[in-house]
């Protein structure tokens, strides 16, 4: 009997990168144990970091990095036109991530701090997630993108179904793993309002959640700030911690 839910043909995929550390791509290359299995289901048609080829169209484009220059804007429109499904890979692409921290300061100051009087040589825009410019079909969160989530989305796409989008907070995964809560170890953690899907990897390794996967839908930010200040941060420090990866969502970023 033929398979009803398994894929029938290889899907064509392409990888692109914008302003980012390329850690998500690398993280993907780090799928050593899985990479040959993955290649069973896909044909990689474009991937600048690993190969010379270029392609005209793709079933799925995986895109890493934020939009932060006028050239980025042109390129992402072009990719969107060629891609049936566009997936944002990692925090930079899905929520602006670390890059968006620069948006918190007036852009001229930022350029001055880094390039001094030569600042006018390099044009820059506020750092934005892809969704600020084009329609994004799915997002894989995390900095770097979480491998379990990548595999989950990848498998769903290969099977032609919509991936599940995790919308509960990291605390849930912490509880499923029976981790000691970091607040009980005197640390402060963003897990309560950060989107899960990473398997609570940071708390499981004793480090606080930095919020790299973005916030859950309808986060109770004020309650979170109260928690952080109750645990010793000043309000300013608490906000800064919250903004580490989530500056793009902050109302002050486009002053």
């Amino acid at each position: 009997m033929t398979t009803q839910t398994a894929p029938k043909t290889k899907i064509k995929i392409a990888y692109f990168d914008f302003t980012s550390c390329e850690g998500c791509q690398l993280n993907k290359l780090n799928l050593e144990n899985h990479i040959l299995d993955l290649l069973e289901h896909v044909e990689i048609v474009e991937f600048r970091e690993a190969m010379d080829d270029k392609a005209d169209s793709y079933d799925v484009a995986f895109i890493e990095g934020s939009i932060s220059t006028p050239t980025c804007v042109e390129r992402i429109h072009d990719i969107r036109r060629r891609a049936k499904i566009l997936v944002a890979l990692g925090s930079c692409a899905s929520i602006g991530g670390i890059n968006a921290m620069k948006n918190l300061q007036p852009i001229e100051d930022v350029r001055e701090i880094v390039y001094g009087e030569d600042k006018y040589l390099f044009p820059t825009l506020p750092a934005m997630p892809l969704s600020a410019i084009v329609k994004v079909d799915y997002e894989i969160h995390g900095c770097p993108m979480s491998i379990p989530e990548f595999l989950q989305v990848f498998k769903a796409l290969a099977m032609g179904k919509a991936p599940i989008k995790p919308d509960s907070p990291v605390c849930v995964e912490c509880k499923l793993r029976e981790n000691e809560c970091l607040f009980d170890r005197g640390m402060v953690c963003l897990g309560p309002i950060t989107r899960s899907g990473c398997d609570a990897i940071c708390p499981s390794f004793g480090q606080f959640c930095t919020g790299c996967r973005g916030l859950v839908p309808n986060p109770n930010k004020n309650a979170m700030l109260d928690i952080l200040t109750d645990h010793g941060l000043s309000l300013q420090e608490a906000e800064k911690r919250l903004l580490l990866f989530n500056s793009y969502q902050h109302p002050d970023t486009f002053k």
């Binding site: 990168d17 390329e22 991937f47 690993a50 190969m51 932060s68 390794f205 004793g206 480090q207």
Partner: protein, 438 residues
């Protein structure tokens, strides 16, 4: 011989980040030979301002996913220097183990997936999977092992989790370390030896090009310097890490979003070849044997040999990791908490050898432990001027070749440096501009 040449490699592939190679020759006179860095600027120094010392390494590790461990280590060292945080011996050993793992990982990735296709005339590693399955599986196995060192000790090889100012948030278990040791002995070392054979077989494809330059790296009295040491220049000798600015002398050039650097000459080189030239005698025996096998000799002035030096370092890192694990097991692992109580506030500098060369971070902290000023100097940035100088010497030497050949030579040259463009902002592209009959 064509008198006019115009090469323009836009967004060079198989390097990390975005860069263009632009070479422009008019009537036999080289007008331009440069690596343009077009990566979007990221402004990390500005982002760091006002952040807590807990966040500094979290942020700077995001400068680059490939060198994330290197940035993290350097950042932690700068913070610890500034805040006067003492480290335990265990912490230092675990960090050295991590640095070995990251170097091994990065060198394997570069040699197998980015350089090897050039030597085999393939556009990427993917077509090699069916034809060279064993080699690819070996490369994947080595990368997995190297990454597992990262996963076990630091929680995650990319953007590591557990290393924090003053120590680690979680210590690996004895069982995990023993398992890594077993794999290093049973797969790691044999795979490295096989790698040496593979690379030796391909070494004929490495261009023979020589240009003497200044080599800068860390140097330590006790060991092959990757994590600890002073700055050493083959021209000017030892300099204290705190005086790094006297060595790097950064300057902005219009064709690069990444700053350039120079010391005694118009340019200098950092990375595996610089480390080899400066510190080869401190490598492990297996590494030295590998070097001999591969024909890498001290004071090697061929930048293409950087990839070979990386292979030699793979042997060193694997062997040295076994030593470190033995030392840790002998000491007995302690469940230590990180030391995060500052004894002072002020300026601090950290330096580390990352796969692509020497890296510097410098921070200044206020009395609440928040950053007032920050500066990061990245290896690829330091190499850029040297790459331009290499191209200037190389192009006239190979001008008789076809344009495609010249382009390939240039691309290979840039790749040999294993440039990390995200680091330097994100870089690379060769632009040939050719308006001759050729």
């Amino acid at each position: 011989m064509s008198k006019n040449l115009d090469i323009n490699v836009h967004h060079l592939t198989r390097v990390e980040g975005h860069g263009n190679i632009v070479v422009n020759m008019k009537e036999g006179r080289l007008e331009k030979a440069e690596l343009q860095i077009v990566e979007a600027p990221r402004y990390f120094e500005a982002m760091l301002k006002g952040r807590s010392f807990h966040d500094a390494a979290i942020i700077t590790s995001r400068i680059c996913g490939i060198c994330s461990l290197g940035h993290q280590m350097t950042s932690l060292k700068a913070t610890e220097d500034a805040l006067g945080l003492e480290l335990s011996e265990q912490t230092i050993l675990l960090r050295k183990l991590l640095v070995n793992g990251a170097t091994l990982q990065s060198n394997v990735l570069h040699v197998y997936f980015l350089v090897a296709p050039d030597l085999l005339n393939a556009p990427s590693v993917f077509p090699l999977i069916p034809t060279h399955t064993d080699v690819i599986l070996r490369a994947l196995r080595m990368k997995r092992l190297a990454n597992d060192i990262g996963d076990i000790v630091s929680g995650r090889a990319v953007h590591p989790i557990t290393p924090v100012p003053g120590g680690f948030t979680k210590i690996p278990s004895v069982g995990e370390l023993k398992e890594i040791r077993r794999r290093l002995v049973e797969e790691g070392i044999p795979d490295v030896l096989e790698t040496v054979k593979t690379v030796k077989a391909l070494a004929g494809g490495i261009p023979n090009f020589v240009r003497e330059t200044e080599y800068i790296s860390l140097k330590d009295k006790n060991e092959y310097a990757l994590y600890e040491g002073d700055i050493y220049s083959s021209d000017t000798g030892i300099t204290d890490v705190h005086d790094y600015r006297s060595i790097t002398n950064e300057f902005v050039v219009p064709h690069s979003t990444s700053k350039h650097a120079k010391n005694a000459r118009s340019s200098y080189m950092v990375g595996a070849l610089a480390r080899w030239n400066n510190n080869y005698s401190q490598l492990t025996d297996t590494a030295l044997k590998a070097a001999e096998e591969l024909g890498l000799k001290p004071d090697c002035y061929n930048p293409y040999m950087n990839s070979v030096a990386q292979v030699v370092e793979c042997a060193h890192c694997a062997e040295d990791s076994i030593k470190i694990i033995d030392q840790l097991l002998e000491m007995g692992l302690k469940d230590e908490k990180p030391n995060q109580t500052p004894t002072k506030y002020g300026k601090g500098t950290g330096s580390n050898e990352v796969p692509r060369g020497i890296l510097f971070h410098e921070y200044e902290y206020d009395r609440r432990g928040n950053i007032v000023a920050a500066n990061c100097i990245i290896p690829t940035g330091q190499n850029l001027a040297n790459i331009d100088d290499d191209m200037k010497k190389l192009v006239p030497e190979i001008i008789g070749k076809s344009k495609a050949d010249i382009t390939k030579h240039l691309e290979m040259l840039v790749r040999a440096y294993d440039p990390c463009i995200s680091c330097s902002v994100h870089l690379l592209n060769v632009d040939f501009i050719d308006d001759t009959e050729s």
